[in-house]
Symmetry: C2
Subunit: 184 residues, 2 copies
């Protein structure tokens, strides 16, 4: 059952995002199964890592879908994306930390696809005048992902309340840290 697989993968993320070198033993215990069963589901460590990455990318992809990032104003689209992606921030944190994943061409291609959608969103926003043009769309895309990953880590470590996370992300990314006098 795919549900079972996914639940194991979610447990794996909880461990791996904190300690990428965690033993399979530890991951199995975190998932509430034995190492033997873990091996029955995933052929080996490499496959497990790859599946976790693939899950993260699928989640990110559906987040882009449900947020309808290609529709409406770029700012509203980004705010929708923030709301949609925050629940899966831990998976994104894993994706950000596991550069080794991108050695796999399949994973890499999938990532390029999603990244292109995000870059396109920023490019569109720049063309319609809502996003600043002094900052490249590539950097905006990268920084956005960095902050999502940061949210994932911070929430997981208990340094940030989950309820605040979407607000904190959107506000900082869009408006910055500087307080500005009310400009009506």
């Amino acid at each position: 059952m795919a549900t079972d697989r996914d639940s194991v993968l979610e447990a794996a993320v909880g461990v791996l995002s904190r300690r990428p070198t965690a033993h399979l033993d530890e991951i199995a215990r975190a998932a509430g199964i034995s190492r033997a069963t873990l091996h029955r589901i995933f052929p080996g460590r490499e496959a497990l890592i790859r599946e976790v990455g693939a899950l993260g990318l699928r989640r990110f992809s559906t987040a882009l879908d449900v947020a309808q990032v290609e529709q409406g104003s770029a700012e509203a689209a980004l705010r929708r994306l923030v709301d949609a992606v925050v629940p899966d921030a831990a998976l994104c944190a894993f994706l950000a930390g596991e550069n080794q994943l991108y050695d796999d061409p399949e994973i890499n291609d999938l990532w390029e696809l999603q990244d292109a959608r995000v870059r396109a969103l920023f490019l569109r926003g720049q063309q319609e005048g809502t996003f600043r043009v002094e900052l490249s769309a590539g950097w905006l895309s990268e920084a956005f992902f960095d902050l999502v990953a940061g949210i994932g880590w911070a929430v997981q470590e208990g340094r940030l309340a989950p309820r605040e996370s979407a607000f904190s992300l959107a506000e900082l990314f869009l408006d910055g840290a500087l307080r500005r006098p009310d400009t009506p």
Copy 2:
């Protein structure tokens, strides 16, 4: 000689920030020395990692010093900090990715010290009205570090030009991604 040690550590960062599980063999080759000599300088892998972390924290600490983050307006202080920390962004990226480092109480204490200085900067900025108060000083501190680490990765992978990095970081963090109509 400490200089020699540091040059090895810098080479180690170049490898480890990309692939934290890199073999000592690889690190030694990147540093231009043999595995035997690497073992002569550092007792083992654990010690090496710890020393890299300590170097990163020392650099971050001196960046806080040379930026004089406790002096002048909080915004100007942060801009100085950005300029001072960007050259060592790769080391910060390593610090961000290696959560395991903070198991060592010495490293952890040193980190707490630096983090407290950054949080104090944001707190001061909030009190003097330059930083937004809707975002907690803790989150601002965390997000700032996330972006510094992101800069480190992006520059290392060639996705961001080093010359742009300080500007990109300061502008996005302080003013956000949204373009705003000129507000004189």
